[in-house]
């Protein structure tokens, strides 16, 4: 990992206009609310959050599958949000996606070899024989039998399909791979195989990953740095080890305390913080801090002033008026 910034998001906002249940007129839903962060070349940047927190929408805004309502996204210091579709093309090649559902993301009527070749054919990266050779190379790279390129997706298991999706994402030699819940549809033994494969590929090809997942253990395992999202905002961002060892934000703290762990009776019992209620609807965001409605430490101040994401200690950002686990000094 270097300090060179590959992808930078600055004040990214994505809003949708919709008719919400119980409301007569149209309402605006803020799916991504003022998100800023940077992904460094060669690192794995993890985004973790519960369903509806805006992590997938954010990913789509970053790779320009959606245009953000406002804010800036730069890739290698080039602003992407204002580029025309044509001018965006060379950058799209460098940012590829791996999707969650290996059943829905592969066209069932096409042979898997053609699925992997498709991005290269669209981008005319070489002659047909060069493309074919590259497909075989990719199949080998992700650990699939090269004899199977003529087969159809339904002939493969979930884990193998995810390998096909990964092969396709690598076909154009991208520098950034955005993986949106790539292992959550897989059985645990297969999930481990795919995670190990992704780690190997990163090392061999020098890839940068933006890894989105809801599973705290998976995110911890793969990530160098982690951002925790809640209701469209990043509430905490830090080095993975620091964040998991001593979370600053009460939401992160609660999430970690309830993540199921394997207890063999030898560990000290943990204090679990079961936060009550549900995530508020994104078209009806609480005033001030968005987490205050479920936060055990919320005060009147939290209802009035939204805490900004500030760098509390070097490299550790948190959006909370009353950060936790700060035993050394008070704020």
């Amino acid at each position: 990992m270097s300090d060179e910034v590959l992808l930078r998001a600055t004040n990214v906002v994505k809003e949708f206009s919709l008719r919400s249940p119980g409301l007569r007129q149209r309402a605006t839903m803020r799916a991504v609310a003022d998100v800023s962060f940077e992904v460094r070349r060669g690192e794995t940047f993890g985004i973790v959050g519960e369903s509806g927190c805006g992590k997938s929408t954010l990913a789509r805004c970053l790779v320009q599958l959606m245009t953000p309502t406002s804010g800036s996204v730069t890739f290698n210091d080039v602003e992407l949000t204002t580029l025309s579709r044509r001018k965006l093309r060379p950058y799209r090649r460098q940012m590829q996606l791996v999707f969650q559902d290996p059943y829905a993301s592969l066209n069932p009527r096409r042979r898997v070899g053609d699925i992997v070749a498709e991005p290269m054919r669209v981008n005319k990266t070489g002659s047909e024989s060069e493309i074919r050779a590259r497909v075989l190379e990719l199949f080998e790279l992700v650990g699939l039998d090269t004899a199977s390129i003529q087969r159809y997706p339904h002939e493969f298991s979930g884990g193998q399909r995810q390998r096909i999706g990964i092969a396709r994402s690598l076909s154009l030699n991208p520098s950034l791979v955005v993986a949106d819940e790539p292992v959550s549809a897989l059985d645990v033994s297969v999930q481990a195989q795919v995670l190990n494969l992704m780690a190997d590929l990163q090392e061999r090809l020098g890839l940068t990953y933006l890894f989105i997942a809801h599973d705290l253990g998976v995110v911890r395992h793969v990530s160098d740095r982690v951002a925790v999202m809640y209701l469209g905002e990043i509430v905490e961002l830090a080095n993975a080890d620091d964040l998991y060892a001593a979370p600053f934000h009460p939401y992160t703290e609660a999430l970690l305390s309830v993540a199921p762990e394997l207890d063999d009776g030898t560990q000290a019992p943990r204090e679990r913080i079961v936060i009550s209620g549900d995530v508020p609807a994104p078209f009806n965001r609480p005033s001030g801090c968005t987490f205050r409605t479920r936060c055990p430490f919320a005060t009147d101040h939290c209802a009035q002033v939204a805490p900004p994401l500030v760098e509390l200690t070097p490299g550790r950002f948190v959006a909370c008026h009353y950060p936790r686990n700060r035993s050394t000094t008070s704020i």
Binding site: V188, A192, A254, E261
Partner: protein, 314 residues
């Protein structure tokens, strides 16, 4: 095809038994067949299922219906499919109560409101008249739990009750199940693919592979000293929140299809430690902590150390 093959299991009063396994391991089918929920002509269930000493297999439909819902409650994975979208939730809970108890509509409705309150739904008086789509996923699962509890079942079968839920909601539901089990003294069979969930709530664990039990034992014993190589793989493959390991242990290959389970040990084709003996099907052996593996105890102790701790603690 043998979806479930030779499962023997007893659940004590107030006990929580976790059944863990990957997709297609037969964990759901085993419970459905016990309850007589598999009715297709091509299904045959053999063996014996006893509930409070009474044989359930072959019991008349009429008698089975009385048991199901009253003495044995069931919670399904997807709360949206377990509830019908066209009726108010209060009506759905009341219907179940009225099917099993001699109460008036008003009484059943009152009990439904109480139950919604008990499972932690705020403003039960108002929510009782809402439709399932007006509830969030976690709230819907609470409604399903309220329904399963409506007749104070002695046994609750929960099939992946938290799999569709977020981790904070999962924690709420697991806590609720623990609390209700305390209050009602009911036994729970929890079906899940998540070793973490098992570790949170189960007293005893059954690890299933290819429709067969691979290992059965006290939860802590199974997690601390797993005996079966498949369990080693399952435990080693879980990315942990508390420690970072450089590599996850993996089980080569993919779960075996129930259509062609090997004649010997079902796990042998994926097992690193297989030997000649594995062509013969192992039976569950052991004292209290049972496993179906031909390795000797000494071999297991030795091999386990390498298998579960792959990568060590970074």
């Amino acid at each position: 095809m043998h979806a479930v093959d030779g499962l023997s299991l007893s659940v004590g009063r107030k006990e929580v038994v976790g059944i863990v396994g990957e997709s297609g391991s037969g964990k759901s089918v085993s419970m459905y067949s016990m309850l007589g929920l598999l009715r297709e002509a091509n299904v045959s269930v053999t063996g014996s299922v006893k509930f409070e000493g009474r044989e359930l297999l072959g019991l008349a439909d009429r008698e089975m219906r009385v048991l199901r819902g009253r003495d044995i409650g069931m919670i399904f994975q997807d709360p949206m499919t377990a509830l019908t979208p066209v009726y108010k939730v209060g009506w759905q809970i009341a219907e179940q109560i009225r099917a099993h108890q001699d109460v008036t509509k008003a009484q059943a409705r009152q009990r439904a409101i109480e139950l919604l309150g008990e499972v932690g739904i705020p403003e039960p008086h108002r929510r009782v008249d809402q439709f399932p789509h007006e509830f969030s996923g976690g709230m819907r699962q609470r409604v399903v739990i309220a329904m399963a509890l409506s007749c104070n079942p002695k046994l609750l079968i929960a099939d992946e009750p938290t799999t569709a839920l977020d981790v904070t909601t999962q924690a709420q539901i697991l806590e609720l199940m623990g609390k209700l089990q305390d209050t009602y003294d009911s036994s729970i069979v929890l079906i899940t693919h998540d070793m973490g969930v098992i570790s949170e709530i189960a007293d005893r664990v059954v690890v299933m592979y290819a429709g067969r039990p691979a290992e059965i034992g006290d939860r802590r014993a199974v997690i601390r000293t797993p005996q079966h190589p498949y369990t080693w793989g399952l435990l080693g493959a879980v990315p942990r929140v508390e420690t970072k390991r450089s590599r996850l242990a993996t089980i080569p290959g993919t779960p075996v299809s129930p259509l062609n389970v090997p004649t010997g040990c079902a796990f042998a084709p994926r097992c690193e430690h297989r030997f000649e003996k594995c062509d013969e099907r192992p039976t569950l052996r052991g004292d209290g902590h049972l496993d179906a593996c031909w390795l000797t105890i000494e071999q297991k102790v030795h091999l386990r150390a390498g298998a579960v701790e792959t990568g060590g603690h970074a």
